[in-house]
C-alpha cells in the first residue's frame, strides 16, 4: 500500500512538472507580445523597445523557463510584467478569496450532495427520488451563469435579499463575506451538488446489486442501515473521485461565476492577465490551478487507496 501511495505521489509530481512545461510553453507561444498588448494603439517604436527591455522579453525562452521553475520552486513567482507588483503579493488575496468561496461552497455542497444521494438511494424510485433526480438534471443542464443571473434577478434585484455584487475586500469580516458571497455560493452549490449527488446515488445503487447487500438484507438489516453502512463504504472510491473533481472545479472552474458576481478571485485575475499578456501572472495562476487540480486528484486517489481494505491490508 505504501508503495501504491508513493507511486501516486511520484506520478503527481511528474504531472505537476508536465503541467509546468505546458503552462510555460503555452504562455510563451501566445501570439503577439506583451509590450504591444499593453500599449495598444499608443505604442511608438521607442516606448515599445523600452518596455520590452524592461520586461526582459529579449532573452531565450529556455533560459527563462529554467529561471522561472527554480524561482517558482522557492515560492518566488516573479513580478507582474504590467504593473511591477510582486506576483505572490498580487495572487495571495485572490487565492484567499477563491479558497474561501470554494471552501464555503464545498462545506455546504459535499454533505448535502452525499446526504441527498444516500436518501435518493434509500428511497429509490420514490417521489423524492424522482423529484431530486429531475431537479439535479435541470441544474446540470442549465448553464451555470444563467443560474447566477436568475438568482441575481430574484434575490438581488426583485426581492433585495442579497447583494448582486460579491465585491469583498481584504478588510471585510467573516459575516460580511458570507453575506456578500451568498449568491455565488448558492450558484456553485446548485451546480456541484447535482453532480456529486447523482454520482453518490448511482454508485450506491450499483453496489446495491452485490450479493453482500442481499446478504445484509437477509441478516435483517433495515434499508437505511444497509445503504449507509454496507453500500456506501464500498461506493466510496467513485464518490471520492467525483467529490475531488467537483472541489477542483470549485477552485479552477469558477471563472464564470466570478465574472457574474464580480468576485475578486483567481480566475478573474487569470483571464485578465491572459488578455494583457502578463506572462508571470498567467503562469503563476496556471501553476496554482494545475497544482490544486493535481493535488485534489492525488488526494482523492490516495484516499480511495486508503478506503479500500484490499489495498490497505493486503493478504
Amino acid at each position: 500500500m505504501i508503495r501504491l501511495v508513493a507511486l501516486r505521489l511520484v506520478f503527481g509530481l511528474v504531472t505537476m512538472w508536465a503541467a509546468s512545461v505546458l503552462i510555460f510553453g503555452g504562455t510563451e507561444l501566445l501570439p503577439g507580445d506583451l509590450a504591444t498588448a499593453i500599449l495598444q494603439n499608443s505604442a511608438t517604436p521607442e516606448n515599445l523597445a523600452e518596455l520590452r527591455a524592461h520586461l526582459g522579453l529579449d532573452r531565450p525562452p529556455l533560459v527563462r523557463y529554467g529561471e522561472w521553475l527554480t524561482r517558482a520552486a522557492h515560492g518566488d513567482l516573479g513580478t507582474s510584467l504590467s504593473n511591477d507588483r510582486d506576483v505572490v503579493e498580487e495572487i495571495a488575496p485572490r487565492l484567499r478569496n477563491t479558497v474561501f468561496l470554494a471552501g464555503f461552497a464545498a462545506l455546504i455542497a459535499v454533505p448535502l450532495a452525499i446526504g441527498l444521494g444516500l436518501l435518493a438511494a434509500i428511497w429509490q424510485a420514490s417521489v423524492f427520488d424522482r423529484v431530486i433526480n429531475f431537479v439535479t438534471l435541470l441544474t446540470i443542464s442549465v448553464p451555470e451563469y444563467l443560474v447566477g443571473y436568475l438568482l441575481v434577478k430574484y434575490f438581488a434585484v426583485r426581492w433585495d435579499l442579497f447583494p448582486a455584487l460579491a465585491n469583498v475586500s481584504p478588510e471585510t469580516d467573516l459575516g460580511g463575506r458570507i453575506y456578500l458571497t451568498a449568491l455565488p455560493v448558492v450558484t456553485l452549490v446548485l451546480v456541484v451538488v447535482a453532480h456529486m449527488m447523482r454520482m453518490t446515488r448511482a454508485s450506491v445503487l450499483s453496489i446495491m446489486a452485490s450479493p453482500y447487500i442481499e446478504m445484509a438484507f437477509l441478516k435483517g438489516l433495515s434499508k437505511p442501515r444497509v445503504v449507509v453502512r454496507h453500500a456506501f463504504p464500498n461506493a466510496l472510491a467513485p464518490i471520492i473521485s467525483v467529490v475531488a473533481l467537483n472541489l477542483a472545479y470549485l477552485v479552477v472552474g469558477v471563472v464564470v461565476v466570478e465574472q457574474v458576481f464580480v468576485y475578486p478571485g483567481l480566475g478573474q485575475l487569470m483571464v485578465d492577465a491572459v488578455s494583457k499578456h502578463d506572462l508571470p501572472v498567467v503562469q503563476a495562476c496556471g501553476l496554482i490551478f494545475a497544482g490544486a487540480f493535481i493535488m485534489l486528484n492525488m488526494i482523492a486517489d490516495i484516499m480511495a487507496i486508503l478506503s479500500n481494505p484490499r489495498l490497505r491490508r493486503p493478504r
Binding site: 501566445l30 501570439p31 503577439g32 507580445d33 504591444t36 498588448a37 499593453i38 500599449l39 495598444q40 494603439n41 499608443s42 505604442a43 511608438t44 517604436p45 521607442e46 516606448n47 523600452e50 518596455l51 524592461h54 507582474s80 504590467s82 504593473n83 511591477d84 507588483r85 498580487e90 488575496p93 443571473y149 441575481v152 434577478k153 438581488a156 434585484v157 433585495d160 447583494p163 448582486a164 455584487l165 465585491n167 475586500s169 481584504p170 478588510e171 465574472q259 457574474v260 458576481f261 464580480v262 475578486p264 478573474q268 485575475l269 485578465d272 492577465a273 488578455s275 494583457k276 499578456h277 502578463d278 501572472v281
Partner: protein
C-alpha cells in the same frame, strides 16, 4: 421650434422636470436626434445646488489587475477615473473640449507659438503636506518625455525643453509651433505629482481625495482631502469604486442599488435602462469613432480612388449607428472630427448609402476581384458585427468582400497597421489638429491607411502655427474637406459614451472627451439628500 425653446426655458427655470420636458418636447415634434441634443443642453442648465457628504459608490468598467496609480501607465477608464480623484492636471478640459485652468491658472504663447509660459496656482498642497511648485510641474511633465513607457510620450515628444521661471511660472519650448499646445497638456496621463516621486502606491497628488485603499482590478476607495484647494469640486465624503467589467453585472449592480453610477451602458440595452423610473442615462457626444483603414500604398488596390469612393457610398452608416450603437451615436463622414468639436466642418456633404454612386465608382475603378476585411473584437466590441453589416451592404452594390475574424490576441501587433482593410477605432483626441495629425499626418506612424497627401500635411502645419482662431478654423475645415473627399479612410460612425446613475446622484454631466465626465466624476458628482 419656438415650442421647444419655450419648454427648454420652463425646464431651466425649474418649472417642469426633465421627464416632463422630454415628453412634451417629443410631443412637440422633436426627433430623437434633436431630443438628445436638447437633453445634453437641458441637463447642463438644470442647476441644482450641490450637497456635501455621503459615500458615492461607482461600478466602473474598464479596469484590470494590471492597473497602477502611476499616471504614466494609465490606459483605461478605471485608472483615469480613480486617478483623477487623487491627482490634478495642469490644464483641465471643459465639457465642450476647451482648455480650463487646472493647477495652471493662466498661460500665454510667445509669438510664433513655439514657447509657452504657464502661471501656476499658489497655495496648493499635496496630500503629504508639501506645497505645489514649479519643480513639481516640471518633474510631472518630464515623466512623459524621453525614455518613458508613458502613453503620452508621442504627443510630448513635441516638447524640447521645460524651464522654471519662478516658483509659480514655467516655460515650455516646442520643436515647432503649436497654437493649441495647452490642449496637449490636458492629456490624461499628465497629472501633477510631487517632484521625485517614483513610488506611486500612495497616490500623493493634489486632488480632492486621498487614497484609502487600492486593489487593482477590483476596488479603489478614496476619502475627501480636507486641504483640497478646490471649492467647486469634491462634494462627497468618500467614494468606493468597484471594477465591474462584465456589462450585465454592472447593470445588475446599478439596478439592485449596489452602486450609484455606472459607465459603459451597452447601447443595446440603454433604452431599457432609460425606461426604469429611478435611473437616468448620461449620454456624451465624444470623439470615439470606428474606422476602416484603406491602405493606399503604391500598388495597393486602394490606391484606386474610385474603389475607395465605391466603399464610401457602398456602406450604410445609419445602419451602423442604429444597430451597432442602438442609436447612441452619429454617422461619420470620413473625417475623425466629431460634431461636438469646435473645429468640426459642418459644410461637407454627408455621405450616405447610395447604390448608384457606389456602382458607378466601382465600375469606373475597373476593380473586379474580391477583397478581405479584417476585424477583431480586440479593437472594439462589435467590430466584427460592423464588418458583417458592411459586407451585407457592399454585396448589394456588387463588391465582393470577405470578413476575416482575427483573434483578439495579437490583433494590435499583427493585424493593425499591417492589413489593407482593417476595422479598428480611435478614441477622441483633445484637439482636432492632434487627431488629424496622429491618424492621417503624412509621417504619422499610426496612419493606418498610409494616407500620404502632402497638401494635407501642409494644412496641418499651418493650422498648428496659426494663433488666430478663425483662421485656424478655416484651415482645419479645408483639411477635413480634403480628406473626406480623398476618402483617407472610412469613418462610418461616432459612438456616444453612455453612463447611467440612480436618482440619488446629482452633478453627473456628459463630457465630449470621455465617459464619467471625462473621468472627473468622483469630484464633480454629489449625492442628494
Amino acid at each position: 421650434m419656438s415650442e421647444i425653446e419655450f419648454l427648454k426655458n420652463l425646464h431651466n427655470a425649474g418649472r417642469i422636470n426633465r421627464r416632463e420636458f422630454l415628453g412634451r418636447a417629443a410631443a412637440a415634434g422633436a426627433g430623437a436626434a434633436v431630443l438628445n441634443t436638447l437633453v445634453l443642453g437641458a441637463d447642463a442648465y438644470a442647476a441644482e445646488t450641490p450637497r456635501k457628504g455621503g459615500l458615492l459608490r461607482l461600478g466602473v468598467g474598464g479596469g484590470s489587475t494590471t492597473d497602477s496609480l502611476d499616471p504614466a501607465s494609465w490606459n483605461d477608464t478605471v485608472p483615469t477615473a480613480s486617478g483623477n480623484a487623487f491627482y490634478d492636471p495642469l490644464i483641465d478640459v471643459s465639457p465642450e473640449n476647451k482648455p480650463l485652468p487646472g493647477l495652471a491658472v493662466s498661460w500665454e504663447a510667445k509669438p510664433g507659438a513655439t514657447e509657452w509660459v504657464f502661471n501656476l496656482r499658489r497655495g496648493v498642497t499635496f496630500h503629504n503636506g508639501k506645497t505645489f511648485s514649479a519643480d513639481d510641474a516640471i518633474y510631472s511633465i518630464n515623466m512623459h518625455r524621453g525614455k518613458t513607457k508613458s502613453g503620452a510620450a508621442g504627443s510630448f515628444s513635441a516638447i524640447t525643453d521645460v524651464k522654471k521661471l519662478s516658483d509659480t511660472q514655467i516655460i515650455i519650448t516646442l520643436k515647432s509651433a503649436d497654437a493649441e499646445f495647452p490642449m496637449v497638456l490636458t492629456d490624461y496621463h499628465c497629472r501633477m505629482v510631487p517632484a521625485g516621486t517614483t513610488d506611486f502606491s500612495k497616490a500623493i497628488g493634489t486632488g480632492c481625495f486621498t487614497l484609502e485603499s487600492f486593489d487593482p482590478g477590483v476596488r479603489i476607495k478614496g476619502r475627501h482631502f480636507v486641504n483640497s484647494w478646490r471649492t467647486d469640486r469634491g462634494f462627497v465624503d468618500a467614494f468606493d469604486m468597484t471594477v465591474i467589467n462584465d456589462s450585465s453585472a454592472r447593470m445588475n449592480a446599478l439596478i439592485s442599488g449596489q452602486v450609484d453610477i455606472v459607465n459603459r451602458v451597452d447601447p443595446k440595452i440603454a433604452n431599457l435602462i432609460k425606461a426604469k423610473k429611478n435611473l437616468e442615462l448620461v449620454q456624451g457626444r465624444g470623439g470615439w469613432h470606428a474606422v476602416v483603414s484603406l491602405m493606399q500604398d503604391k500598388g495597393s488596390m486602394f490606391e484606386n480612388k474610385d474603389l475607395r469612393l465605391a466603399m464610401k457610398y457602398g456602406i450604410d452608416r445609419t445602419q451602423v449607428v442604429k444597430t451597432l450603437f442602438g442609436g447612441f451615436g452619429t454617422v461619420g463622414n470620413d473625417t475623425p472630427i466629431p460634431r461636438s468639436d469646435p473645429y468640426y466642418n459642418p459644410n461637407i456633404a454627408q455621405a450616405s448609402f447610395d447604390a448608384d454612386k457606389a456602382k458607378f465608382h466601382l465600375k469606373k475603378s475597373g476593380f473586379a476581384g474580391g477583397l478581405t476585411m479584417q476585424a477583431s473584437e480586440a479593437a472594439f466590441n462589435g467590430a466584427v458585427d460592423m464588418a458583417t453589416l458592411m459586407q451585407a451592404s457592399l454585396t448589394k452594390v456588387g463588391l465582393k468582400i470577405d470578413v476575416k475574424k482575427e483573434p483578439a490576441d495579437g490583433f494590435w501587433s499583427n493585424v493593425w497597421l499591417k492589413g489593407a482593410c482593417v476595422t479598428s477605432y480611435w478614441a477622441g483626441r483633445s484637439t482636432a489638429t492632434q487627431m488629424l495629425d496622429v491618424g492621417y499626418g503624412p509621417t504619422a506612424p499610426w496612419n493606418e491607411s498610409h494616407y500620404r497627401n502632402p497638401k494635407f500635411g501642409q494644412l496641418l502645419d499651418s493650422a498648428r502655427a496659426e494663433l488666430d482662431e478663425p483662421k485656424r478654423k478655416a484651415i482645419l475645415f479645408e483639411a477635413q474637406a480634403l480628406m473626406s473627399d480623398d476618402v483617407a479612410s472610412l469613418v462610418p460612425a461616432f459612438r456616444d459614451t453612455v453612463d447611467a446613475h440612480n436618482d440619488k446622484v446629482g452633478g453627473h454631466t456628459p463630457h465630449a472627451l470621455s465617459d464619467l465626465d471625462s473621468s472627473n466624476i468622483t469630484s464633480k458628482a454629489w449625492l442628494k439628500a
